[in-house]
Amino acid sequence: MKVLNQQNLSIEKRLFAKSISLYESKGDAEIWEDFKNGNGEAFNYIYCHYFPILFVYGHQFSKNRELIKDLIQDLFLNIKVNRKKLGPTLSIKFYLFKSFRRMIIKKKAKLTDFSYDDYGKDFDFEITLSHERNLIEDQKQKELKEKLEKAINSLTKKQKEIIIYYYYEGFTYKQIASIMGFSKTEYARKLIYRSVEALKKQFPEKDLLIMLLVTKPFAN
């Protein structure tokens, strides 16, 4: 099988070079304010930056591509149409994740009687430990990495979800509590604590110490 089509630059970069260069270095508050004032470049920037991120995120809840696309479309349509009524935000990503998660959960609840079995089990925030920076060649380390991955994936769905928010997406406890619909920030902290404790139980500290021996220099 040979694929004939070749595209070097990503579509975002080809289409929205102007929006990207305008907003790349600006803070969320300013981008959001411009967007609320009807600036099309600001909207394009938000769309092209967050569409792929939300796409990946949405797939953790459902493998149905069309469903995810529809919901992202509704989300952007909603903020675009109602932009004047939106409040300010310091984190566009947080705002979008929060709204998007609520929409998916609502939609999925309504879809229960549809047959979505064709897609098999949902991804449910399964986690992997990437090692693009640290090439693990040592067999022992490889085994440990796989063991840790297994341990992480044996956590509950909610625990894996919060691990992604906290360590990968980089949300604060306060933001996570809000995204996951907890009434108190404290619950997010507790859930992380419980997840790490569960890992510790399965994974002795000395193993963690041997792991990922090739360390990268600190960035600063």
Partner: protein, 351 residues
């Protein structure tokens, strides 16, 4: 100090530490560099905690295609410029439920009575009540034709296809007959179902969009639904409702006009079926002769194969609004064949 006896797990739970790894700033860099300078024996421990945080990622990363990126953006622009959008966003749920009900009701009623409305095998005189003037829209090789019918329905005809329809639709239905391939976006009209007859298959809808491929030389008829609900069935099966299929978005119906076998693929990837309307030729595991046939149609050329090649080889690829030269080069590259163009003829041969 607080951090002196921390284990890796303790670091992983620490907000200030995680924040430093994720979003280092002058303040946190200053703090941690100083702390590490004072506790050099902790360097390895901290590195590992950092490493774990940094390597955590999604196991499944499903990325959108370029087409999907554009499709959603276009929809947003299209919908947000429509004046009714605000109402729609709020009432959509209700609207959808009501619409679904009406469509189903409409389809079932119509299926039940359809034989009174349409004489089955006669595709031309589809509206028998009145004596409407029929007209024919057709495309030649190398042509595509977009049109909006009297009821607001959008039709895009692919090359070498033909659509027969009355000059004016009757009051109780909208009937057309198709040979070849077309993409439909049917305007909603619950009182007048839209009926398409194509190579022995009858397709009935109220308002929706879908693609039909029914070229005469192929025994296969394909119906791919991009939105809404569509009712299809083998025309020979007459009135029996249970013999019809209700297709929804992303369903693909395949009918073999020789064996009269019907097959439905639910919720499948149909983007390939409709790509042609956006000027994209897509192949997934296609035979060379099928690709040639399409290229002949699209670019109005004749292709002949001078040296025999394997008829079983399968080819995949796509051409996004490419010139004939580009497409031929792509085929040549994949198949290992060379080609030359003489007038409107393309010859493929082995070197």
């Amino acid at each position: 100090m607080k951090y002196d006896n921390y284990s890796i797990g303790d670091f992983l739970e620490d907000d200030f530490f995680v924040k430093w790894v994720k979003y280092p700033d002058a303040e946190s860099n200053y703090f941690w560099n100083k702390w590490l300078a004072n506790n050099p024996q902790k360097t390895k421990l901290v590195s590992r905690a950092r490493n774990i945080v940094e390597s955590i990622t999604y196991e499944h990363i499903e990325l959108p295609t370029d087409q999907e990126f554009i499709e959603v953006l276009e929809n947003i622009h299209k919908l947000s410029s429509s004046p009714t959008i605000k109402v729609r966003l709020h009432q959509r749920m209700w609207f959808r439920m009501a619409a679904t009900f009406l469509i189903l009701l409409g389809c079932f009623t119509l299926f039940y009575f359809h034989e009174d409305l349409i004489p089955p095998s006669q595709s031309v005189q589809v509206t028998s009540h009145e004596s409407p003037q029929m007209m024919t829209k057709e495309t030649k090789k190398g042509q595509k034709l977009s049109m909006v019918l009297g009821d607001g329905t959008f039709v895009k005809l692919n090359a070498e296809s033909e659509l027969k329809l009355p000059e004016k639709f009757s009051n109780d239905n909208r009937s057309v007959a198709l040979t070849g391939e077309a993409y439909f976006e049917v305007a909603k009209d619950t009182t007048r179902p839209f009926i398409i007859q194509s190579k022995g298959v009858m397709i009935m809808v109220v308002g929706t969009s879908f693609n039909i491929k029914a070229y005469p030389e192929k025994e296969i008829v394909k119906v791919a639904v991009t939105s809404g609900k569509v009712m299809v069935k083998d025309q020979q099966k007459g009135k029996d409702q249970t013999q019809s299929y209700l297709l929804e978005r992303n369903d693909l119906y395949i009918f073999n006009s020789n064996t009269r076998q019907e097959k439905v693929f639910r919720n499948t990837d149909i983007t390939d079926e409709t790509a042609w309307k956006d000027g994209i030729l897509v192949y997934k595991k296609a035979l060379l002769q099928d690709i040639f046939k399409d290229v002949e149609r699209w670019y109005d050329v004749e292709i002949s194969l001078e040296t025999p090649v394997s008829q079983q080889d399968l080819y995949s690829g796509s051409f996004d609004n490419k010139s004939l030269q580009n497409v031929l080069q792509g085929i040549s590259f994949s198949s290992g064949l060379s080609y030359r163009i003489e007038d409107k003829m393309v010859f493929f041969y082995k070197k």
